[in-house]
């Protein structure tokens, strides 16, 4: 009895010793999986940057959008993945004392317009309809690629909007508005069509927090420059340009982003604290309840930078000249061409030919609609008055 007991004890301890390495292996696997869960699963980054204000005194809204554009480009998102919408042209505006520049700091320290800017939607093209079409992807087939948001379910999208707004709406170009409900529905459409993996929405307007109140789709994080009932204020005017250059919230966001580089590990909690009430006068707000990950695990570069998977190889590759292909094709072209007659250029102003040409008449279509109805009425009245049998007096 005692022997079997000791034997069983030994067996259990042996089994325990054997199980220990297996359990540690399982624990490390769980740790890996947990780490994967906290790291974002996106493979590409997009940015939609919208300035909705027109007229020279709204210079600061264009400067806001361009400073976010500049940061996003600097951190790696290429122009092909940025949809930039500017509702008015400030850089080449006749009232701009320094053409082709848009400054964000006074004394002309930083030109956020730069030398390499590509604006996708400009001037009258920035409308609520075009903005919603870009977001939802319901765009006419003739739209060029640079004007489309070609995101998929593994895309992290940054959406930045600035302009004049109020409680529940944002004004586009002084002629129309977009409401927070429309915006929330557009994001839901994007979610249903799996057009984003995670979405960061930043808005810098008066009462900006009202714009993210109605969101109900998952994986959206939102930041705003002011709460409902508060105004977002502008930062500093420049005496040479004559208008306010930036809004306070975006000015401090820009200063914060200038410290970020593509390898930075700064997380979203720092972005939430970027502008306290002492600097911004308004109270910036944020909303993270729809977001699955904890904001402290979300890197700034998850949205403002670009994911790049690079594999470095040390083997050399030699390039072969392909002269054979072009030679044969050239010979074929040459044979075809030599059979042709010599061509000549057209006369730019052939007076004799112009005078004697007859302008082409458009094809004649039978009258329709109102004219047809009018003639039918006239004919009916005529026959009613005179009768058919009197036709012989006419013909």
């Amino acid at each position: 009895m005692v022997d079997t007991y000791f034997l069983s004890q030994g067996l259990t301890t042996l089994a325990g010793l054997l199980l220990l390495p297996f359990s540690s292996l399982a624990a490390s696997q769980i740790e890996d999986q947990a780490e994967q869960f906290f790291r974002s699963g996106h493979t590409n980054n997009w940015a939609v940057l919208v300035c909705t204000s027109r007229f020279w005194f709204n210079y600061r809204h264009v400067a806001n959008t361009l400073s976010v554009y500049r940061s996003v480009k600097r951190l790696g998102i290429p122009d092909s993945h940025i949809v930039l919408m500017l509702a008015d042209d400030m850089a080449c505006n006749p009232r701009n004392p320094k053409p082709a520049t848009v400054y964000s700091h006074k004394n002309m320290e930083l030109n956020v317009y730069g030398d390499d800017v590509e604006v996708d939607y400009r001037s009258y093209e920035v409308t609520v309809e075009n903005f919603l079409r870009v977001l939802t992807g319901r765009i006419p087939s003739s739209t060029p690629r640079s004007k489309r948001l070609l995101s998929d379910d593994r895309s992290n999208i940054l959406i930045y909007m600035t302009g004049h707004g109020g409680n529940g709406f944002l004004k586009f170009q002084d002629s129309e508005e977009i409401t927070n409900i429309e915006l929330a529905d557009a994001f839901e459409q994007m979610w249903q069509k799996r057009r984003y993996n995670e979405l960061l929405f930043i808005i810098d307007t008066c009462q900006g927090a009202s714009m993210y109140e109605r969101f109900y789709s998952p994986n959206i994080m939102a930041l705003a420059s002011s709460q409902v009932g508060e105004d977002s204020l502008s930062h500093q005017p420049d005496p040479a340009v004559g208008v306010h250059l930036m809004d306070r919230y975006t000015f401090y966001v820009l200063e914060f982003l200038e410290e970020i580089n593509p390898a930075s590990q700064t997380n979203m909690n720092d972005l939430f604290q970027v502008c306290p009430k002492s600097l911004c006068v308004s109270t910036p707000g944020h909303r993270t309840d729809l977001f699955q990950r904890d904001p402290k695990n979300v890197l700034i570069t998850d949205f403002f930078g670009s994911v790049r998977k690079v594999e470095i190889t040390t083997e050399t590759i030699s390039l072969q000249p392909d002269s054979g292909v072009t030679e044969s094709s050239y010979k074929k072209d040459q044979m075809v061409e030599e059979l042709m007659e010599p061509l000549k250029y057209a006369e730019q102003l052939p007076v004799a030919q112009i005078i004697h040409q007859k302008p082409k008449l458009k094809d004649w279509h039978p009258p329709g609609g109102f004219i047809l109805g009018l003639w039918a009425l006239i004919i009916m009245v005529f026959f009613k008055t005179y009768g058919i049998k009197h036709m012989k007096f006419i013909f």
């Binding site: 320094k98 400009r122 010979k331 072209d333 061409e337 061509l343 102003l349 112009i354």
Partner: protein, 514 residues
């Protein structure tokens, strides 16, 4: 585009190790040129031209066959083949060329965006191709060319003959549109620069800096694509892409009132090296001197060669700086230039196509004969119509633009010009083909017209709704009450002490009792 730079680097790598076979296929060539012209008003005009010739797309039918892109940008090459283009001309301009003060330009463009294209005869639906073409170009050049539709497109019947090789000119394959409200800024210059083989890294394109180019009285950038003769016998065809950029630097704004000009003062940069892909890279400076002003133009450094020719009807002398010859940094000074031209009398022709609302614009073409030493005025009466309220732009008080008019003229030249061989002569002399040596062709544009239409008060719908609702509420409400309210007689109640006291006072006053 970055792709063009990468392809050009690939070409450089291929040229090194291997060589071509005996029968060398014709290679794409790049010629770049800058012409600096001092203007009579003390301003200076600079005209850049970059000509890329594409050899791999030739033969009949044009546009088909092999598509090798070495120097020619792929974006435009694919446009030509996809939309079966024969010619494409797109220009974006800010400002207006003041012919009275500045003289005749080499190539003028209307303020805003101008797009005209000749399609090949194989195209079945020209309007459909035109619409798609303008959308694609709006993406390439970051301009709002997608606003081109049937309301601002016309089909000219006499002007805008093809500038390249033509196989018959059926004007139904021509489309022309102008967007006068279009703004030119750095976002249009950036993709334009990326189409150049050397981008803005070497050669004359290093001078293209946006902050200087837009601080000018006149800025015009254009892209011209057309088929040209490959050789003197014109038995084969190659595609030519000309990118032109004309700027006029204001003497008072940028020059602080001084008439001394240099490349550094104009562009804040100097030329260092030519583009390695260019077969020709030259700077021409107009040094024609004039006896009337007793002012001669001095150019430093002294030019090694000069070029004399009859340009736009008068003999001009140009100082030539060849960047491929020796590394020279060039400076230039200003001079007064005067040009005179006369118009020969011609018979008349008028073509008028009235507008249809929301479908097509007015088109008026006239061939006029002008008497000598006179002023001729052409005026058109118009009415201002009311627009629908959705058709107003967000800033309607700015006004609405009427496109500029085009003036095409054959001007007899004082000196007979020999028909130019397009390969030997410089680029600015081969813009328009010369068939009759006694006259030269010029195309001018007027200013666009800004018309202020009566703008409705957009707050009126709200006011009207409020007012109407109030009136309806008051009137209808009153009637409703009168019709549906019933009156009941109330039994007088037995009063308490307060009532009897009140009745006493009332009786004393003579007022009816409670």
């Amino acid at each position: 585009m970055a792709a063009a730079v990468r392809i050009s680097l690939l070409v450089l790598l291929l040229l090194g190790p291997g060589g071509w076979g005996q029968a060398e296929p014709p290679r794409d060539s790049l010629r770049e040129e800058l012409v600096i012209t001092p203007l009579p008003s003390g301003d200076v005009a600079a005209t850049f031209q970059f000509r890329t010739r594409w050899e791999s797309g030739g033969g009949q039918p044009w546009g088909q066959g092999v598509s090798h892109y070495r120097l020619f940008p792929k974006a435009l090459g694919q446009l030509i083949s996809k939309y079966s283009l024969r010619e494409l001309h797109l220009s974006l301009t800010q400002g207006f060329w003041r012919t009275r003060y500045w003289g005749t330009p080499f190539l003028q463009a209307p303020s805003g965006a101008e797009l005209w294209a000749w399609f090949q005869d194989t195209v079945t639906d020209v309007d459909e191709s035109w619409k798609e073409l303008s959308n694609v170009l709006s993406g390439i050049f970051c301009a709002s060319l997608n606003f081109i539709d049937s309301t601002n497109t016309v089909t000219p019947t006499a002007s805008f003959k093809p500038l390249g090789l033509a196989n018959g000119t059926d004007h139904s394959f021509l489309r022309y549109a102008v967007l006068p409200r279009e703004v030119v800024c750095t976002e249009n210059l950036t993709p334009w620069k990326k189409l150049l083989p050397c981008s803005s890294k070497a050669g004359l394109s290093v001078l293209l800096k946006a902050d200087r180019l837009f601080h000018t009285s006149y800025h015009s950038q254009a892209v011209h694509i057309r088929p040209v003769c490959r050789n003197a016998h014109c038995t084969s065809v190659s595609w030519e892409l000309r990118q032109t950029l004309s700027v006029v630097f204001d003497a008072f704004v940028t020059g602080q009132g001084k008439k001394d000009w240099s490349l550094f003062r104009m562009f804040s940069r100097t030329l260092t090296e030519p583009c390695p892909l260019a077969s020709e890279s030259r700077v021409y400076v107009d040094i024609t001197s004039y006896g009337q002003d007793n002012e001669t133009l001095e150019v430093y450094p002294p030019p090694l060669t000069t070029y004399q020719d009859v340009i736009l009807g008068s003999r001009k002398t140009y100082a030539v700086y060849d960047l491929l010859d020796a590394a020279v940094v060039s400076n230039s000074r200003s001079l007064n230039v005067q040009l005179k031209w006369k118009r020969p009398p011609e018979n008349g022709y008028i073509h008028y196509q009235p507008a249809q609302d929301r479908m097509q614009p007015h088109l008026l073409e006239m061939l006029i004969q002008l008497p000598a030493n006179s002023v001729t005025k052409v005026s058109i009466q118009f009415e201002r119509a009311l627009l629908k309220w959705t058709e107003y732009t967000p800033d309607p008080n700015h006004g609405f633009y009427v496109s500029p008019s085009v003036l095409s003229a054959l001007v007899p030249s004082v000196v007979a010009a020999k028909p130019a061989d397009w390969e030997e002569s410089p680029l600015f002399n081969s813009l328009f083909p010369v068939s009759d040596s006694s006259s030269y062709f010029v195309r001018l544009y007027t200013e666009p017209l800004l018309v202020s239409l009566p703008t409705p008060d957009f707050s009126m719908p709200y006011n009207v709704v409020c007012l109407t609702c109030t009136v309806v509420a008051v009137c209808y409400g009153s009637f409703y009450n009168l019709l549906t309210r019933t009156f009941q007689i109330e039994e007088p109640r037995k009063g308490g002490l307060a009532r009897r006291l009140a009745n006493l006072i009332r009786r004393a006053r003579g007022v009816p009792l409670l």
